[in-house]
């Protein structure tokens, strides 16, 4: 059974803005799910509805089998949320604010757990510091610590690494993987495609309030990924010879490289034909390499295609 089940969810704000259109989505237990989409696509609205911050207009959402409206206490106990904005109690200490969140979620004090969370996030030394005195990256860690304070089974990370440095981003990736190993389901939204590519098991793409694709990451890259074959020529060419026109080649590096783009999901890649044609045309090459299109390329293509 899916740990989060979203059925026919729609949201129309009082302003008339349609944020979500009949969204249905199932998040599997223990997976890392990345939700990608351009600004204003409905990512945050979707997360905020599941977490109880925004009221849905229609549809149904369950978290670990509990309806988020009729059985909200049980549903919310399962969920931790790291919001996009750095919203913290500036005057509180790290220890107090994290303990406060645990209390809000109905759990008794557990200093050992809070210590473990703070140590995991390299916040232990800062436990008595006021949040206002922390850097942006540290504040982000505090938000994650708060979300983990009540040992959630489902963790929402809304743009978790926006504005954080590379070291912290990698720390967070490690933490997310560790959480997954502990059985926590992680749903993240991100603008950094690299992040989804690095971490996600499955990827959903949302655009204009509708889910336009949900796919296993590897499968998505296999299905939609393009590959490029780059041939380094022994002698530069002034232009692509007419005999090779049918292969759709591009000339690069001042005529020193020929680039052939092919679709990995096609029945035939056309590489054999290309190499035969090159040989017939007397074009020799000294080296070759292939590269696969990144998730970013796929994402941009998808969003353009469905626009």
């Amino acid at each position: 059974m899916a740990i989060i089940s979203i059925s026919n969810l729609s949201k129309v704000y009082a302003s008339g803005l349609v944020a979500l259109k009949d969204v249905s989505l199932a998040i599997e237990r223990g997976e890392i799910f990345a939700l990608l989409g351009p600004n204003g696509a409905g990512k945050s609205t979707l997360i905020n509805i599941v977490c109880g911050i925004v009221t849905p207009s229609s549809g149904r959402v369950t978290a670990d089998g509990h309806d988020i409206l009729t059985d909200y206490r049980a549903a919310r106990r399962k969920i931790g949320l790291v919001p996009q904005e750095l919203t913290t109690d500036a005057f509180e200490t790290v220890w107090n604010t994290v303990s406060f969140t645990r209390g809000l979620f109905g759990l008794p004090k557990d200093p050992a757990h809070i210590e473990r969370v703070l140590r995991d996030l390299s916040l232990w030394e800062k436990r008595d510091s006021r949040i206002m005195a922390l850097s942006g990256g540290m504040k982000r860690r505090v938000l994650i610590a708060k979300a983990l304070s009540h040992e959630p089974q489902i963790l929402f990370l809304d743009e978790p690494t926006a504005g954080v440095d590379v070291a912290l981003r990698q720390d967070m990736w490690r933490l997310v993987r560790r959480l997954r190993e502990q059985g926590v389901t992680v749903i993240l939204t991100t603008h950094y495609i690299e992040e989804a590519e690095e971490m996600a098991d499955r990827i959903g793409v949302i655009r204009g309030g509708a889910i336009i694709l949900v796919e296993d990451k590897a499968e998505l890259m296999r299905k939609l990924g393009r590959k490029q074959l780059t041939l380094q020529l022994q002698a530069p060419l002034p232009a692509v010879p007419p005999a090779l026109a049918e292969h759709g080649l591009e000339l690069a590096s001042d005529g020193h490289e020929l680039i052939y783009t092919y679709d990995t999901k096609g029945e035939r890649t056309g590489i054999t034909g290309l190499l035969t044609a090159l040989s017939a045309a007397g074009i020799r090459f000294s080296d070759l390499r292939t590269s696969q299109s990144s998730l970013e390329d796929i994402f941009v293509d998808l969003v353009k295609e469905r626009a």
């Binding site: 911050i53 009221t55 206490r73 969920i79 303990s99 109905g106 708060k146």
Partner: protein, 253 residues
């Protein structure tokens, strides 16, 4: 009931109070002392006893009520407005807490703070005048009822306000004038008939009258009416809070 959440909110709010203990406690002590210097010693010495109560002593319940109303509203409105302003309200909205628990946490803390300040003013008063409390249980009952009612009112203001200016608007423009005109420093029967009749439309009159009765056994209006009016205001505030949480007004989109 999620009592851990109630305790967390209550403790969090009270911690803020203790963090600023100097200004939270010292300010009302100083202002009360000033009132006693001005109204009790300077002016009070020229005012005859009211209903047989020396003027300095007569103003004690009014002073406490003045602080109780303003502090209850200020604490409760700020307590819920600040998370809305800072964005940390997301935690409350996404936690497994019912509206009743949220209200108990915030309003309970605001009422506790204002009652504490009320008792501090009472203690400060004892330094200036020989205190006399004829009905101490009723005095405490009025203290609690008023603190809870006006903390609820402050909570509503804190949810309604969409800026710090609005947060100050109701306390400054409505509550303070009503308190001053509600008999804090005089008995309603000292007013000309027209103003006396008009005063009866002021809800604060009933609070101060009942509270003063608990001290001296004398009141502008009967005890039953005082308690009834206070409970009516409490019911109105409860109704407003219930409506806000039911509709998500200013809380959820």
């Amino acid at each position: 009931m999620n009592w851990h959440a109630v305790r967390a909110i209550y403790g969090f709010e009270m911690a803020r109070f203790w963090r600023t203990a100097m200004q939270s406690i010292l300010a009302p002590v100083i202002s009360t002392s000033l009132y006693f210097v001005v109204f009790g010693a300077a002016i009070g010495s020229r005012v005859t006893a009211v209903d047989g109560v020396p003027y300095g002593l007569f103003i004690v319940p009014g002073l406490i009520m003045l602080a109780l109303l303003t502090q209850s509203i200020a604490n409760a409105s700020f307590g819920i407005y600040f998370p809305r302003f800072a964005g940390t309200i997301y935690e409350i909205l996404s936690a497994p807490i019912s509206p009743v628990e949220v209200v108990i946490g915030y309003v309970g803390a605001a009422a506790s703070k204002s009652m504490l300040i009320g008792l501090i003013i009472l203690a400060t008063s004892a330094l200036f005048v020989p205190l006399r409390i004829e009905h101490p249980v009723w005095m405490l009952a009025f203290l609690v009822l008023t603190a809870v009612t006006f903390s609820l009112f402050g909570f509503v203001i804190g949810l309604w306000a969409d800026g710090f200016e609005k947060l100050q608007l109701v306390p400054l423009l409505i509550v303070t004038p009503l308190t001053f005109l509600g008999g804090s420093f005089y008995a309603i029967e000292m007013l000309p008939p027209f103003w006396r009749a008009l005063s009866l439309f002021n809800p604060v009159v009933y609070l101060i009258s009942g509270f003063r009765w608990s001290f001296f056994g004398k009141a502008d209006v009967s005890l039953g009416i005082s308690v009834g009016m206070t409970c009516l205001f409490l019911a109105i505030c409860l109704g407003l809070v219930t409506w806000i949480f039911r509709t998500g007004y200013r809380l959820k989109s």
